[in-house]
Amino acid sequence: MQVNLLHRPGSTVAQCLIQQGEVPVRAEAGAMIGMSPNVNMETSSGGLMKGVKAMFSGESFFTNKFTSTGGTAELLVATSLPGDMAILAVDSGAGAGGEWSIQRGAFVACEDTVEIDAKSGGLKGMFSGAGLIKLKASGKGQCLVGAFGALEPIDVEGSFVVDTGHLVAWQNTLDYKLTKAGGGFMAALMSGEGYVATFTGTGRIWIQTRNAQAYGQMIGPKMAPV
């Protein structure tokens, strides 16, 4: 597939051009905006266990596979929040640097040769608001991720701290530890920073400039009870 990112960066749409005979494009349910008449869509869960696991990771139970029935087919996909999208190059043959961890909810679509697997983020992941489960992308191909706000790449060498609500994806050459933002009881309760991820090693992190949870906490309480 060839991907063109249109309408960047505020409300990005990914235009995926699929040739006949090319590997299918697998997209998150609900991500499709439009498609040309020569696109064939097939819905599957990839098996019950896989579907259940996907639901736990913040993705949908079903995913859709798109192929071209003849010639160049056009598929438009996008993330649900206003923001930018990025293409991750996945290549397990290149080692850990070719594999990515993706924050739950950020996955939009990938070539079918990319394996998306739910990985437990552990107990800390559950309490941190960073999600119980993160996704691991392996195999070989392109993977599309979506952000809330703009995307900013950070090339880490050594050590770097990111608020978990702003994480989108990171290369698997990086290790991370979830810790509280500041020391002590006051910081944990009042700083509003909750948990942060401290990354170590060498590799790239993509962060988003807005935090969906913080947005919800700002807007939610203002809404009249239903």
Partner: protein, 231 residues
């Protein structure tokens, strides 16, 4: 302290570079990333000159604000430490960040939720906006920032300054900040009850005096009303 704003105007993020020993104060929850080796300290935003009683008053105000909504009232102090470092900050809503240098004694009034960050010399004090504040949809408390120093504030939508010379009328919900020399009154948009109910504009704020008012191009209440109807 150096700073650069990126990804504006819709999803602005500010990078604050600190030299060793420097400090920046930021709204609770606004930190996106920071380099390793920086220290973060949470403090109650009681104002620089507050003594014991001031702190008690600040705590009381914090409790009230918890129910009224607005800024979190707790701020985080980021210290450059021994090597210096960079902290990035972003607001919760889609919008811009404005950075303003305040001269000594210069005062700017920020509406609820508009404060993002400041240098340590800036004094921040809570001002009770009262019924006028509530009717203006800008919160019952304003934050008064006094110079000298750098002040960063954020908006929902774009920020644009308007010079007021005499009088200027702004729809309630669109005010981000204003020179504290300006005064404002609440009025009916079209005059009288009919103008208020039927124009769709409801109440407006009329600023008087000489100075600058900073407006935002979107309105949080309008967003909330619109989303609520989607349910």
């Amino acid at each position: 302290m150096r700073h650069e704003t990126v990804h504006g105007p819709s999803h602005a993020l500010v990078k604050v570079h600190l030299d060793p020993g420097e400090t920046v104060i930021a709204e609770a929850g606004s930190m996106v990333t920071h380099t390793a080796g920086m220290a973060m300290e949470v403090k109650m935003n009681a104002g620089g000159k507050a003594g014991c009683i001031g702190t008690l008053v600040a705590f009381f105000v914090a409790v009230v604000r918890k129910f009224v909504g607005g800024d979190s009232f707790f701020v985080n102090h980021f210290h450059g430490g021994q090597t210096g470092g960079t902290v990035t900050l972003a607001p919760a809503l889609n919008g811009s960040i404005e950075v303003k240098d305040l001269a000594a004694g210069e005062k700017l009034m920020l509406t609820a939720g508009a404060y993002l960050a400041s240098t340590p010399d800036i004094n921040l004090e809570m001002r009770w906006g009262g019924l006028k504040g509530l009717l203006s949809k800008e919160g019952a408390f304003f934050v008064e920032a006094s110079g000298p120093g750098k002040l960063m504030f954020n908006s929902y939508g774009g920020i644009y300054p308007v010079k007021v010379d005499g009088s200027y009328i702004v729809d309630n919900g669109h005010i981000v900040a204003f020179d504290s020399g300006l005064t404002f009154d609440i009025k009916s948009a079209g005059g009288g009850l009919m103008g208020m109910m039927a124009s769709g504009e409801g109440l407006v704020c009329e600023f008087k005096g000489q100075g600058t008012v900073y407006l935002q191009s979107r309105n949080v209440s309008a967003l909330v009303d619109w989303i609520s109807r989607m349910g």
